[in-house]
């Protein structure tokens, strides 16, 4: 297992010491109520000015960088859709070499790769796996809005079962998305990297502390952030935080972290709400019938039980 200096004396971010500076300027072109850009801004707030960002093609790249404008106050590069982990590994390797050869005078920067669920779980999975396996010291952030939003709400392997998208439409012969959401954090964790976590901007302190830990730990870290997308989910823009919170309160999107292989559920839900409360907030699920919801509820319960088993697992 890789070492993780720093976490012993970890100083938590609280509402009192929240970083104030923003590194993504207002005026970007994200939709109203976009929780993806909200999450992205939170990540950067914690990362601070000594940070380099590699961004995959997708909503966040498009809405922040229409030349000659840019929303970025950090050095930022977009190369393509499926390779942002590879680009980040090049940046990390380049600066590491320059530093060793005395050609880089400053402190080593944070290197953060950002990709959507499509960029991460589908087309960029190989590049991500390679970068995690090689052990680059970087943070990979997957902003999971559960479909290809930038290109018009097509399904991804991270789209939840039963959701209607433009390429998994609900119809008389189809429930919509017919597969269960891919376990991306599990795949990342299988690389035996020192830090993996799920996060959600509805729980901003939990999210920010996870970013801080991920950047403190040496070696690759993976953060999977639930990112409500009113445009793609057909939810109310003003309800994005409410929807985000419901995802956790119903255990649809549990919050946990895996440090050196050890899983901890970071937000325990004592009295989970029924998943139907969550599904009601988004029209992508509007077609689901009672039986479908029952089935989904059962699967969500099983998913949580599995996490709990992993949490209590002694080794």
């Amino acid at each position: 297992m890789l070492n993780n200096p720093g976490l012993e004396n970890f100083e938590k971010i609280t509402s009192k010491n929240l970083p104030r500076e923003n590194y993504i300027s207002p005026g970007h072109r994200a939709c109203q109520g976009c929780a993806e850009i909200l999450a992205l801004a939170m990540v950067m707030k914690v990362a601070g000015p000594n940070t380099i960002v590699a961004n995959a093609t997708g909503c966040m790249e498009i809405v922040t960088s229409p030349f000659p404008q840019t929303a970025w106050k950090l050095p930022w590069i977009h190369v393509a859709f499926e390779n942002t982990a590879a680009v980040a590994s090049g940046i990390e390797a380049g600066i590491k070499a320059l530093k060793r050869k005395n050609k880089y005078q400053d402190d080593l920067p944070n290197v953060i790769a950002v990709g959507g669920d499509g960029a991460t779980a589908d087309i960029g999975l190989q590049a991500l796996s390679g970068a995690l396996e090689r052990g680059h010291n970087f943070l990979y952030v997957c902003l999971d809005n559960e479909a290809y939003m930038n290109t018009g709400i097509q399904r991804s392997s991270s789209t939840p079962y039963g959701a209607s998208t433009t390429t998994s439409p609900a119809g008389s012969q189809s429930i919509g998305q017919q597969t269960w959401k891919k376990d991306m954090p599990g795949i990342a964790a299988a690389h035996n990297i020192p830090y993996v976590a799920t996060a959600n901007p509805g729980f901003h302190l939990d999210l920010m502390n996870k970013v801080k830990k991920a950047l403190t730990i040496n070696g690759p870290a993976y953060l999977h952030i639930y990112s409500a997308c009113p445009t793609g989910w057909r939810s109310k823009p003003e309800k994005s935080i409410e929807v985000s919170k419901l995802a956790v309160q119903t255990n649809v999107f549990p919050l946990y972290e895996i440090i050196n292989g050890k899983l901890t559920i970071t937000k325990k839900i004592n009295k989970p709400k029924p998943v139907v409360d969550y599904f009601k907030t988004q029209r992508r699920f509007a077609h689901l019938k009672e039986d479908d919801l029952k089935f989904i509820q059962q699967k969500i319960d099983e998913q949580l039980a599995r996490l709990q088993r992993l949490e209590t697992d002694k080794e």
Partner: protein, 390 residues
Amino acid sequence: MTKAKGLEVSLAVAEAVKQANVDVIAAYPITPQTHIVEELSVYVANGELDAEYVPVESEHTAMSASVGSSAAGARTYTATSAQGLALMHEILFIASGLRLPIVMTVANRALSAPISIWNDHGDIMAERDIGWVQIFAENGQEAYDLSIAAFKIAEDHRVLLPVCVNIDGFILTHMIEPVLFIDQKKIDAFLPPFNPALTLDPKKPVTMGPVGVPEVYAESRKQCEQALINSREIVAEVFDQWGKTFDRNYKLIEKNGPDEAKSLFITMGSMGETTMTAVQELTDSGESVGQVRIRLWRPFPKKEFLNAIAGAEELIIIDRALSPGSHNGPVAQEVKALLYDEPVKPRVHNVIAGLGGRDVTVKDFKKMYAMSRKNELDPNYTIWGVRSDA
């Protein structure tokens, strides 16, 4: 300068890359490129070269990581062949679009299917329009020399474009050739440290690779193309400087044989050496024939090429790649398009030879010449040596 040492050309290229003191190598193995990157990994492993060797999981990542490290300000090298180059395709345009001076060796190899590890130029011809400076080496010495010169060309602030040095797979990469190596001190004097124009610097944040809306896209592409066109002069300048410093002279377009030759073979890459033997023998037997070698393929040196062929009555253009469904192979297309505006045009024959490692011998070139004299070559192109019973 020390005396010539016989060694495999791949190892000479690796030596050149080491002497260029690269910071990052991101590469994925593919025959016939492998010996270059294996050797580089040995240099890194035993401390002879202080660089990050990134053992990527694919060529797509090799090029993507190269883009990242070059954007971070590191001198960056990679190498590939055929399928690997094709896998990089998407990112090759981005490397030039972002003006990143990456240097890449392409050990030229035929593209599948059927799978073939042997040489032709089909791989790089499919990447003709990537916006990179593209150079072809003819022999081991050239492969070594041009691999070093490539960094100087790429990193010149008047260029800032990626450069690809093509060396024929096996025919060059795996051949033992005598190579004169240059002292490290002299190389350091010739090739100053990489001084990037812009980097991903937290103290001076820039946005690289933004969205190009219709109002700016065309201008952006035009700027890149202009940089490529302008690079011709810098390539020539660096070659000149190389000649003055190291006493080996390279031209963008090289003419060999008698000045007033009526027929000219046009070649690229290692085939030029065999052609020259044929040219020599034909000249000795009283034929009026010469050779023109294209060393710089992109940007295409129009002026130099037209000068070189001035007065010739006939061109036999050897293509080592097929352009399926077109009138000619890629090199002949290029030359014919160029001749359209010329008041006097030589006859053009196009022979596509050496596909997938098919041997092309001195005898073959002599036969091509004889057939061209009798106008027996196909008016569009002839695929040399293809068996009709196949």
